[in-house]
């Protein structure tokens, strides 16, 4: 077992797959010589060379297009979109092309592309470089969506995403890059569509994703001090969505909280809430409560950004006040 940062786990996971599959290639802006602006691809150019790790112009549509076209011929491709906010400049390629190709062609073409992108706030980068946009992708039929919260999950879910024959958007959280965790020895391959109960509890279920997972866990510790036993679920994969794990948990706890970094409206938590409000309605003992970033663009100033994104305090207080 080695300890790696979440940042280093990205290159570690990619390298594992590049060694396994000599066809796998990656492209993106400043990913090669520079090792990525977040240093998540350091070392890959040296090991795999400039034909497999390719720098591109600032042309996100061209990046995703090249990835898609190559993938349609059976070459698996990893495409980096530097910040997830920039998905907006190539959203047509992602939402209208990659996502719909298999269906529109009656199954003739599939698109084994992993779109990796740095997501989320906490870096004081302001409204155009800090968004949590998992829901931009979750809402598009034909896209799979993954957002790991630990280094081990980065590696395992990266492998699963790369081996998946469909387009997967892989969200790496900027504020988790420096976090550390154990990585098991040997090849690591996880499974898409599986959530994980990261803390067991009986009084309520807290479903969280990416950066919100450690915060939910910390809040759960504090709730425990008060005698509230919270079960925390790391959702990990939004599409496919592991509704079984969520529903089973709610069956046990009878209360659901979601902790979402995305601004409120149409966040992933709304979807989860709506599933539970339908299928587990009779299990519920009280309201479903969503803890989200307010429905505002993200402010740049440290002080303001910290107020906006759900904090341990806010999670703790919301649950504590409403669980009644």
């Amino acid at each position: 077992m080695a300890e790696l940062t979440y940042r280093d786990a990205v290159a570690y996971g990619i390298a594992q797959e590049m060694r396994r599959d000599p066809n796998l290639v990656m492209l993106g802006e400043d990913i090669a010589g520079a090792g990525g602006v977040f240093k998540t691809t350091v070392g890959l150019l040296d090991e795999f060379g400039p034909a497999r790790i390719r720098d591109t112009p600032i042309s996100e549509q061209a990046i995703l297009g090249a990835a898609m076209g190559a993938a349609m011929t059976g070459i698996p491709v990893i495409a980096e979109i530097m910040f997830s906010d920039f998905i907006a400049v190539c959203f047509d390629l992602l939402a209208n092309e990659m996502a719909k190709s298999a269906y529109m062609t009656g199954g003739q073409l599939s698109v084994p592309v992993v779109v990796r992108t740095a997501n989320g706030g906490g870096s004081r980068f302001g409204a155009q470089h800090s968004q949590s946009v998992e829901n931009w992708c979750m809402m598009i039929p034909g896209l799979k969506v993954v957002a790991p919260s630990t280094p081990a999950d980065v590696v395992g879910l990266m492998a699963a995403s790369i081996r998946d024959p469909d387009p997967v958007v892989f969200f790496e959280h900027k504020s988790l890059f420096a976090s550390k965790g154990e990585i098991p020895e040997g090849e690591i391959v996880d499974e898409l569509g599986t959530a994980r109960v990261v803390r067991e509890g009986t009084d309520c279920t807290i479903a969280a994703l990416a950066l919100m997972v450690p915060r939910a866990l910390e809040a759960a510790d504090r709730l425990a001090d008060e005698g509230i036993s919270a079960e925390v679920i790391d959702v990990r994969s939004l599409v496919p969505l592991d509704t079984k794990t969520v529903l089973a948990s709610v069956e046990k706890t009878s209360r659901l909280y979601t902790v979402e970094e995305n601004p409120r409206l149409c966040g992933w938590g709304a979807e989860v809430a709506s599933i539970v409000a339908d299928e587990a309605f009779w299990d519920l003992d009280g309201p479903i409560v969503r803890i989200t970033t307010p429905h505002i663009p993200l402010p740049a100033a440290e002080a303001l950004e910290d107020m906006a994104i759900p904090s341990v305090d806010r999670i703790y207080e919301t649950v504590s006040k409403t669980i009644g």
């Binding site: 066809n23 898609m68 076209g69 011929t73 047509d92 062609t105």
Partner: protein
């Protein structure tokens, strides 16, 4: 060019000065193209013409739902390029893609059935007229949102480059498409990566209902921009199958040799409106007339006669195509409407559509 807002013709584009076609270059009779290739070209333009006419008739009978964009008048571009391609080469088209799909060898009956939304359609009825795809023959799809597919075409070219094959990708698009961002990104990217891709602008002088010269800063919207990507400016008569064939063969050969991308502007005209419902009234009447006079098919028919192909051979081809179009129509009409079992297939590569467990 820049728009003059005081130009009264802005109130009615059909009052604008017409843009007439160049006359056929008489020297093109003498292009070094073997006669068997030329008869093949004739067969090709006949197939496209007769298929599209039938498609039009089927709309009129309300058998084609949705929309449809025909290549009537523009057949020489598709035929000329297809004849210059190898079977392993990749093709990308727009929503105006019936011609390019057929040219790449898709079955007429399946294409027709797709227009009719039938289960025996090329895409099982799931894609429709605007998304014709025949991946088996490396016809990699028809794309209905302007621009994206130029970027995607780079991908198959990149794949060929990586795999060390000599496959070339040919990507068709319209004049209006030269103004969208993806065009620019695709062309620059192709050049920088030295990709084996030939971009073909079918300049039919109009985007949807707006004349291209009112919305493009340069007179030849593709060719005049080629230098911005380190490429040669190439304009070709898109109504002459031979002229297109020569230019296509040259660009494709160079790409195949590893000499990188090309951008070809083929100037042509659509005989009808933009899509099914459009009568095309925004075009000056004498412009339409002048271009109808430059219909590629009778012109080519005359050329082949001049070159000594017997009339009988040509009418044999024509009739054979007519029969096949009839058969395709029957095949299509006989198809069932797709049932619910198709609704939930093919979202994922495993054939399913589950988003949850």
């Amino acid at each position: 060019m820049s728009i003059d807002l005081n130009d009264p013709a802005l109130l009615d584009y059909s009052q604008r000065p017409p843009r007439h076609p160049e006359p056929v270059d008489p020297a093109n009779d003498g292009l070094p193209i073997p006669l068997n290739v030329r008869t093949d070209l004739y067969k090709r333009v006949q197939e496209l013409r007769q298929f599209e006419k039938r498609a039009y008739d089927l709309f009129m009978q309300n058998l084609v739902k949705g929309t449809s964009h025909l290549s009537l008048g523009m057949e020489a571009v598709s035929a000329g390029f297809a004849a210059a391609m190898q079977p392993e080469d990749y093709v990308f088209a727009t929503y105006r893609g019936h011609a390019h799909t057929l040219s790449k060898g898709a079955d007429m009956g399946q294409v027709m059935a797709e227009l009719l939304g039938r289960e025996n359609g090329l895409l099982k009825g799931k894609g429709g007229s605007m998304h014709l795809t025949h991946a088996e023959a490396n016809m990699m799809g028809s794309y209905a949102i302007i621009g994206a597919h130029l970027c995607i075409a780079n991908g198959t070219a990149w794949s060929a480059q990586m795999r060390g094959t000599d496959q070339v990708t040919v990507c068709f698009f319209g004049d209006g498409t030269t103004n969208i961002g993806a065009f620019h990104e695709a062309l620059n990217f192709a050049k920088v990566w030295n990709l084996p891709v030939v971009f073909v602008c079918e300049n039919n002088l109009y985007m949807e209902y707006t004349p291209i010269d009112l919305v493009a800063a340069v007179p030849n919207p593709a060719a005049d921009r080629a230098p911005a990507y380190g490429l040669e400016s190439i304009v070709v008569d898109g109504n002459d199958p031979d002229a297109v064939y020569m230019v296509a063969a040259d660009a494709i050969t160079r790409a195949r040799r590893g000499e990188g991308p090309a951008l070809v502007e083929a100037q042509t005209y659509r005989h009808g409106g933009h899509s099914r419902a459009d009568p095309g009234k925004y075009r000056p009447a004498d412009e339409v007339e002048a271009w109808l006079d430059r219909d590629p098919i009778p012109m080519y028919h005359q050329r082949l006669l001049r070159l000594g192909v017997p009339e009988g051979r040509l009418s044999e081809i024509t009739q054979d195509v007519a029969r096949r179009v009839d058969e395709a129509t029957e095949f299509a009409k006989a198809g069932a409407h797709p049932g619910e079992e198709h609704l939930f297939t093919d979202v994922w590569a495993d054939g399913g559509s589950a988003w949850r467990n």
